[in-house]
Symmetry: C2
Subunit: 164 residues, 2 copies
Amino acid sequence: MLWLGKAIHNRVHRGSIAHAEELVAMRYLHTMVRITNIEASCKFYGDALGLREVRRREDQKGRYTLVFLAAPGDESAQIELTYNWDPQPYPGGRNFGHIAYAVEDIYATCSRLMEHGVTINRPPRDGKMAFVRSPDRISIELLQMGEALPAREPWISMPNTGEW
Amino acid sequence: MLWLGKAIHNRVHRGSIAHAEELVAMRYLHTMVRITNIEASCKFYGDALGLREVRRREDQKGRYTLVFLAAPGDESAQIELTYNWDPQPYPGGRNFGHIAYAVEDIYATCSRLMEHGVTINRPPRDGKMAFVRSPDRISIELLQMGEALPAREPWISMPNTGEW
């Protein structure tokens, strides 16, 4: 249970604890989004964005499929796609903002997204930040790891498109 | 850069790569949600849910405050709260589902949430799963780490409340 990290060092017997909130270990699992098309979503999150499928579960009784994806080498933090076999419209809301990933080369990631037909809503003109949207309009933020890359074309001249 | 994990082992010189998507490292950073009240949100995500604030940034020019929280010992996977100083209503949408955390003792976590006035929308009757909502109605899933806890009161008799 490596992920318990520092929390485990603070763990003591429950009976003697006044402030239980300091001692109960937690771990981030995933952010779940609903999708209307598995193929389109796996193309976006997988082929285009660069995540990898780590687990899939079909529930015949509940009539839904769950697909879990994660960044290669960072499998503990996942995104869960829920596909109901009888999908309804899934409009967006403003209380949710976006899901963010750091990427090693923001230009390479944005180029790959474009090759897969994804609009770069907020191009990385600054070599640092970009936003795209999933097929179901979930906003994804991309941040360059470390220092911003030197600004360069075609990104410098690429205008914003829509909202993100 | 420990988090690069296995990805770093696969990295080779760009010039020789046919499948760049296999080689560009990524890392999950955060899920961002918009909030209408910093104090209420920090009470919910911090005191009640058990996350800890790891970073805060105020932007005077943009008139917003960002608060980053994470599970103790799992600081690399964060939640970002965006508070615009001139907040608008932030209705929810169905394309976003929830944010999920594994917890060491789901009963202890739900008890603490209740002590802070949070309704357990889906109580952990099964010793395994619960759902609550943030003050801005972001759905949070709690999952018991490992095996389900033995079912026990008051959870067994606690009905569902609302949606989640």
